[in-house]
Symmetry: C2
Subunit: 345 residues, 2 copies
Amino acid sequence: MKAKSFGYIVIASSLAGLPTLGQAEWQALPEQAPVPADNPMSAAKIELGKTLYFDPRLSSTGTVSCNSCHNVMLGGDDNRDVSMGVHGKTGNRNAPTVWNSAFNASQFWDGRAADLEEQAKGPVTNPVEMAMKDLDTAIEAIRAIPGYEPMFTQAFGPDSVSEDNMARAIAAYERTLITPNSPYDRYVKGDREALTAQQLRGMEAFKQAGCVSCHSGPAFNGADLARDGGGLFMKFPLFTDNPYVERYDFMADQGRAEATGKAADEYMWKVPTLRNVALTAPYFHNGSVKTLDEAVRVMAKTQLNQELSEQQVEDIVAFLGALTGEFPEQSLPRLPGTPGFTIIQ
Amino acid sequence: MKAKSFGYIVIASSLAGLPTLGQAEWQALPEQAPVPADNPMSAAKIELGKTLYFDPRLSSTGTVSCNSCHNVMLGGDDNRDVSMGVHGKTGNRNAPTVWNSAFNASQFWDGRAADLEEQAKGPVTNPVEMAMKDLDTAIEAIRAIPGYEPMFTQAFGPDSVSEDNMARAIAAYERTLITPNSPYDRYVKGDREALTAQQLRGMEAFKQAGCVSCHSGPAFNGADLARDGGGLFMKFPLFTDNPYVERYDFMADQGRAEATGKAADEYMWKVPTLRNVALTAPYFHNGSVKTLDEAVRVMAKTQLNQELSEQQVEDIVAFLGALTGEFPEQSLPRLPGTPGFTIIQ
């Protein structure tokens, strides 16, 4: 199967505008995530968001929380090919990491949510994820837990338990989930000892091979390269005349087109961050590739039509390992209790 | 259905020996849990145990950790009638709280595990819980995560990754999960303002009704009343000539007899702790009773053959609320990563 020509044209015209990679070619991760003007951060809001993020009672079975699939104790995902929601149901896409998701220009693999606030509402009612009948049901579940109301009041003012505020609080918490000070960041900031010789070779190979054309910017996700304000979308697989496409069943899912219905979006995907990529196996939208070295081989072939030497692959993998950052210490939240009754039916 | 006479005889003879309730009638929770001589506590062991406790990769699907059903962010359970393990499978018993489980004289509803070490191995291979094929498979999963080996070495010395040490570490962590300084504890220690007038009435009603005959000792679990070293087992339901037995299907499960195969153990159950009971709805071995007030009514009728007044029920519920203790602040563990590969098949 060949890539459709319109897809290639879209990509080619995008690539044409990419000689620079934002302000600097290699950028460190900022110490703070960008915060939208209409959802300012506050300690009360972050604490509420964290509590909701860990609360499995936001799912129909009381067993699946945001953290179940986007596990902040791990690399912000679940190390599964596709995630497992209520009743063991599985979807068809690999859970993207929540770490540094605040630096994405849009959310979900297909970018169908503009921001973290919009994203946060999705899994709650997805029938194979948290499976609440609707957001009203989720809000009822929150109201049934007496301890939440005062937390909403502290974060948003009185009478503020609502789906929008639930999403705002979760998004605010997620904006604290960033991992600065990776070896790469320390190198970029001037510590020339921070990377090994192999990692430096990998960094150069990553650039020379062209990976950086899409995986650009501080989060290596092309968020600096706007398309409709949603960051960079790329066709995947772009080159289809190779054994990987069938082996890993890459074209069973049409990507962004499944959300938009537009032919131009067929096989278009949001470029994912490479931050902490060493921790987020397995890889690709369907989680079909188990190892990072194979992921590098596949990307080089399907996106850049290149065969890398094994040395180059190893070097690039070493460099990607240098994108594992420092995970902030967090306290375990106490979820408000349900004194004397249960919300689980 | 009538209680079998041998059951009643067992209970009656137990009750005969219970005029005192340990050293003092009302006991505060100790600030430290008892620690067995062959598994001393250490910071490294506790940290390893906590990490394992939160690691869903100890389950066949990578989605269920100890914490999934015994959620320390909640009341140490999952607020479900019966827990939900891998693939949405359910067992037939309500998850006991992990909080203060170190004060139980034996573990599981039927006391089939002598201690926390033995208990910790059970759910890992239970096909409706974490569903690992066997403990060797679980240990292989741990070995596949490179970060665990040094943690075991720190806790137990070199070459120490084993099922026994996994269980020892988890048990050591669980011994830190205690909730002292409840209003009840403060009252018993001399703060006469710690309980409300209603709670004090409930405390007296709890004693007068006879609840304290079994729910004795600092954890209100009869652990001070030895039977084969396993604490107190009681027949439930003891009085069966009431509507509750059928309504809540109490006799579908034969309790301890299902583990021992002994007729004398039919419908015998370990007396559960009442610490934090206000947070652990629903109630009873099958989680069939949704509210604490109904649980009090049922217990009075099935175990003591008493009809409590609604005032007595409310007062006892208020007293039980005073058993909610202080939950220690904990840091969120970082689970060791799986760099460059995934263990999930």
